[in-house]
Amino acid sequence: MAGHSSLAAVTPGILDVNQVCVTLAGRQILDDVSFTVHAGEFTGLIGPNGAGKTTLLRVILGLQRPASGQVTVLGRPRSVRHQSIGYVPQKLLLDPDMPMRARDLVELGIDGHRYGMRLRSRQRGGAVRAMLHAVDADRFAGARVGNLSGGEQQRVLIAHALISGPRLLLLDEPLANLDLRSGQEIISLLARIAREQQIAVLLSAHEMNPLLPVMDRVVYLAGGRAASGTTDEVVRPEVLSALYGHHVDVLHVHGRVLVVVGPADEAPLAAHPAMQAAACPPAEAG
């Protein structure tokens, strides 16, 4: 996978995040965040709770305006963004009382944003069936979505997000409510979809180990700042120490990676030279 980063430098990305800063209520949430996501790649957006992952996804979706910096999707800022991004929000549990079958929810992904009603057609039915098949959801296509398990609902939501043919798929903590096995199934499904359909997948998680086998690149967020690259480039003590501003140990145990952040009362480290450029405007007093 090491070859990826050099390739990345020359091909334009599906998603370009460039020096993005976000201030909410006088607090700096994102501080000069830059990275690029390419077609067919699986990128993990990793960071502890409160690191700014959801805010970053909202900026990418165009729901949160950055204080400075730009986000371009397929080389274009904002305008047609919602047509080229598929989105699976976090903690979405569908109401068991909602009279909607898995296939109805996927069909709503085709043109649910358009006004008016739409009759079912054979062509749409075929597209929905193919999409449900692609996410291994054939067997519960006719079940009420609210009655499905968390992993099954995730599959249906992924199908819903993909059926309109986006080039970028954003998933906000999709593994949060899943048991280990369902989580692994979802991850390998997403990795397969990314490669087969040449879609860029950006998935946020606070735990990176389940993603290690499939992750092409990692964007590591801590305290609003980001480091990106391959796992080997980013998940290193010196890079993460600079990000957290504290001494960080990276332990490799039985093929798993453990990031251990030093106690907060330790003297903070000087910022890593690569991150010193303060590109963000000063936060207004809140």
Binding site: Y87, M98, L105, G112
Partner: protein, 306 residues
Amino acid sequence: MHELYRSVFEPGFFASAQVHVAASIGAAVAIVSAVTGVFTVMRGQSFAGHALGDVSAAGGSGALLIGLSPVAGFVGLGIAGAAVMDMIGVSRLRGRDLATGIVLGAAIGLSALFLFLGTTTSATTGATQQILFGSIFTTTSSTIEAVVILGAIAVGSIAAIWRPLLLSTVSLDIAVARGVRVRLVGLLYMLALAVSVGLSSLAIGAILSTALLIGPAAAALRLTKTVTWALAVSCVIGVLATWLGILLAYDSYYWGSAHQSLPVSFFIVGLIFATYLASGLPAARAVSRRRAPALAQAADRDQVAA
């Protein structure tokens, strides 16, 4: 056979002009309520629906006071109330109960004032009863047209925002990310709801309008798997309950020796309540059937984990 027929349909039922008007208005109102009601239940906005009923009451009693038609009052103030609720923040989940509660309180206060003034200055003692508990038998046939037109506007609005409304009901986040103007869609839905509640205030009364809005829809949502079917079943339940309620109220005149009809709203709401309870039976059976294998699976998982 003839005796049985006569005991079900008391003399003059089908010939009565009042019954014709009541049946027409009742059916139109039931259908409009069923359509908006399905979304109201799915969106968890029953409280907003109820509050709009109270706003309608203020409108109806205000109209009475200044000599306007009650429909104009019910629907007119209902729309204004919906707009205010939307402005205060009914679209935000957290602000929703607050916005609703504030508007509801103000509306009931106004009703109290208008009804007091209306019933003390003119001698219309039945007005309070009519505004709060319905006037389907005393409505004139000239109102049918207004009811049908307003109802068609409400149903048409829902049809126009059908897909984005459904999407934002499933998930506001997804809808916003897809570029749906959720504020606009939410406002249009609230206006359709206000019209629907206003019309049902006319039929079964402002206080009881929630029953016709929520009851058939809630029962239908238990019985069906798709929104379209829920809508159809909800319409059928609403119309049948309304018609049967009208029949029972008409018949009730002959029941005792007192020769006084019982209020039609009581029968309609009673039938809807009974239907809702009955709709729980198949749903409960389905749940217990589903739960049994699910529990077995959970037990398996626990064993594996252990």
